[in-house]
């Protein structure tokens, strides 16, 4: 860009600044349209990122019957109420299936100052690659590891004690007789762990003795499998000792296929799972309940088979996070699409407004244009002067819109599973929006610019005002 073009650009800015009222209105109108689209882009991107971050490694969630989306939202994103509790013994039967690679039980029920207390083994935070900034993972009943946001928000420090409140609201029935002790603080990850308090599942059972299980029975029971060194052993899912299938040649064949990593049919899976469910393993956890169980599978095929088996043959519900979130996304995308249409209408109106602004400028400043021509500015120069003004208005509207969208996003009541980590960056959709904004600015200024190009200098300088 040579100095002449730079000078025209500078002059265009000066001209716009000399009309602050109409310039502000034009930019504001454009900004409103752009901010709505930008907000949609940010929301979609954050939702997508949150899903990717928070669903890592979870193939299936097993919980109480009810809405599968609610099960996913409550157990994975911790954004809804659970569908209910499920017997631990039934959950254990599912985990005996050799296709299950990893099973993580979750027990929900309480919160501390609005942050959920989640009963789960250490595997749970490790699933998200959570790291500790200080302290150690929960090891004993009523140990608590707190997320980074909680530490920042509540000021909890290592060794601090606190008690939970029943439910997920700050106000509710408190459990002051059961004091949690902070043993670890997690590093900020930008994911769900930042907003959770992790404690052994046994802590939840202990606090909710009457809801989850009877403590006395628990103390009295006998373990045939292995000795329990401490209370935490209860949370180990007993998934390695089903009844011997070797007595049935068909079951043996299925078992061998599974162990060899071969595909099995749905009927075979159903048969094998029914065998597992019917296995009368003496359960040590007859009265214990958990809220949900997160499962990882050895193969995707296994997940599909087992999902059908659980949903059709048990009182439990199995839901796939990927499927449910896709459903949620398709629901939200309809709303987003409607908003997008509205925003584009506003942008088109903004474009018309820029046209009117520049048309008025041209009408009122035709003599300026004529004078510039007298001073040696060519037709192309005055054309560019008007075009630049349209481009600047659109670009400023886009810039103000993207900033406005971020401010609105920060002020909106946030879902704690979403993060604001990516607000400082420009999304691809916003870059595309900039291109569309510039095109709108150019189109809106083309007619005024063309009129400037064709200015009759003599007429403009001699006409009566």
């Amino acid at each position: 860009m040579n100095y002449q073009h730079m000078y025209i650009l500078k002059l265009a800015i000066q001209k716009l600044r000399s009309r602050p009222g109409s310039t502000f209105f034009s930019v504001l109108l454009f900004a409103i349209g752009c901010s709505i689209i930008s907000l949609i882009i940010i929301a979609e991107k954050n939702l997508q990122q949150s899903v990717e971050r928070n669903f890592s490694g979870i193939d299936l969630v097993v919980g109480a019957k009810g809405s599968p989306l609610q099960l996913i939202l409550s157990s994975v994103l911790h954004a809804d109420y659970p569908t209910g509790n499920i017997p631990l013994a039934q959950a254990e039967q599912i985990t005996r299936n050799p296709l299950v690679k990893k099973a993580i039980p979750l027990a929900l029920g309480d919160n501390y100052r609005g942050f959920r207390i989640v009963g789960a083994p250490v595997d749970y935070p490790l699933l998200y690659d959570a790291q500790l900034t200080e302290g150690s993972w929960h090891n004993q009943v009523l140990d608590a590891v707190v997320g980074a946001n909680i530490q920042r928000s509540t000021g909890l420090q290592l060794g601090d004690q606190f008690y939970g409140v029943h439910g997920f609201r700050e106000t509710g029935h408190a459990h002051p007789e059961f004091l949690y002790t902070v043993t670890g603080i997690m590093e900020r990850s930008g994911g769900i762990m930042d907003n959770l308090i992790i404690t052994p599942v046994e802590s939840v059972w202990k606090v909710h003795g009457d809801h989850y299980h009877d403590d006395h029975q628990h103390d009295d029971h006998k373990h045939d499998h292995h000795p329990h060194n401490n209370d935490l052993d209860h949370a180990h899912l007993h998934n390695n000792d089903p009844q011997n299938p070797n007595e049935d040649p068909q079951l043996l064949e299925i078992k061998e296929k599974i162990e060899a990593g071969e595909d099995i049919s749905f009927e075979e899976m159903q048969l094998y799972q029914e065998f597992l469910l019917q296995s009368e393993t003496p359960s040590v956890h007859a009265d214990l309940e958990i809220t949900a169980m997160l499962l990882q599978f050895r193969s995707p095929a296994g997940m599909i088979q087992l999902t059908r088996t659980i949903n059709e043959s048990t009182r439990l519900q199995a839901a796939s996070p990927a499927l449910e979130i896709n459903r949620l996304m398709s629901l939200t995308s309809t709303g987003f699409d409607l908003l997008s249409v509205l925003a584009w209408i506003i942008i088109i109106i903004s474009g018309v407004n820029i046209f009117i602004h520049l048309w008025n400028v041209l009408r009122q400043e035709m003599q300026d244009i004529a004078l510039m021509r007298v001073m040696g500015a060519g037709r192309a120069t005055v054309f560019m002067l008007l075009l630049w003004q349209g481009i600047i208005l659109a670009a400023a509207g886009w810039l103000a819109g993207t900033i406005l969208a971020r401010l609105v996003w920060l002020l909106l009541p946030s879902f704690h599973f979403m993060t604001h980590t990516s607000l400082m960056m420009l999304f691809a959709g916003e870059a595309t929006l900039l291109i569309f904004a510039l095109i709108t600015g150019i189109i809106a200024s083309l007619i005024p610019a063309w009129n400037a190009y064709n200015t009759d200098v003599h007429y403009s300088l001699t006409r009566k005002q």
């Binding site: 100095y3 002449q4 000078y7 002059l11 000066q14 001209k15 600044r17 000399s18 009309r19 400043e365 003599q367 300026d368 004529a370 004078l371 510039m372 021509r373 007298v374 001073m375 040696g376 500015a377 060519g378 037709r379 192309a380 120069t381 200098v457 003599h458 300088l461 001699t462």
Partner: protein, 210 residues
Amino acid sequence: MEHINVKSLVFEYPGEKELSFADFSLNAGENLLISGNSGSGKTTLLHLMAGLLTPEKGSVCYTGKDISIMDPGELDRFRGEHIGMIFQKHYFINGISVLENLKAARRFAGNKNGHAWLTTLMEQLEITHLTHKKPHQLSEGEQQRFSIARALANEPGWVLADEPTSSIDDRRCEQFVKLINQSLSDKKTSWIIATHDQRLKQYFNNIYPL
């Protein structure tokens, strides 16, 4: 070769009678005063000479270059580089200061620098203290002096001025004449002035009556 040569110039506004202008020419170092009553065609002649109007017939040549056959881009460049104009009404680029207006005259003609010359010019016209004002903040007399400064900003070979002294007092009128003579001697700028201001007649040898 004459500095300016106007030959067989004819122009007609739509629906009005044809205007014919007598031939004239100027040599280097000469000024010209075009005198005549209102409506006699003074402004039209100046605009024809500036290439703002296209004649029906005839030619306007500056040092042998006929502007009536130049394409619009070439004409804009030529005008910007070689011709300064003062209009009867004081036009400015609105929204920028009067100093920026002077700089614009140089920039549109392709001259980036020349601030020293502008300073000299403004000192001569006693407008230095007004440079950062917007055009609408100036009195008519001050606007006229800035119009004169803008016409000379690009150190043109010719200045075409339409009633340049209509809003200034006798003292400033004398200053203006002094400036005309100085620019003629220092910058070789020839002035073609259309006016009915009797005060100017005494200072011009070449008078073109309309």
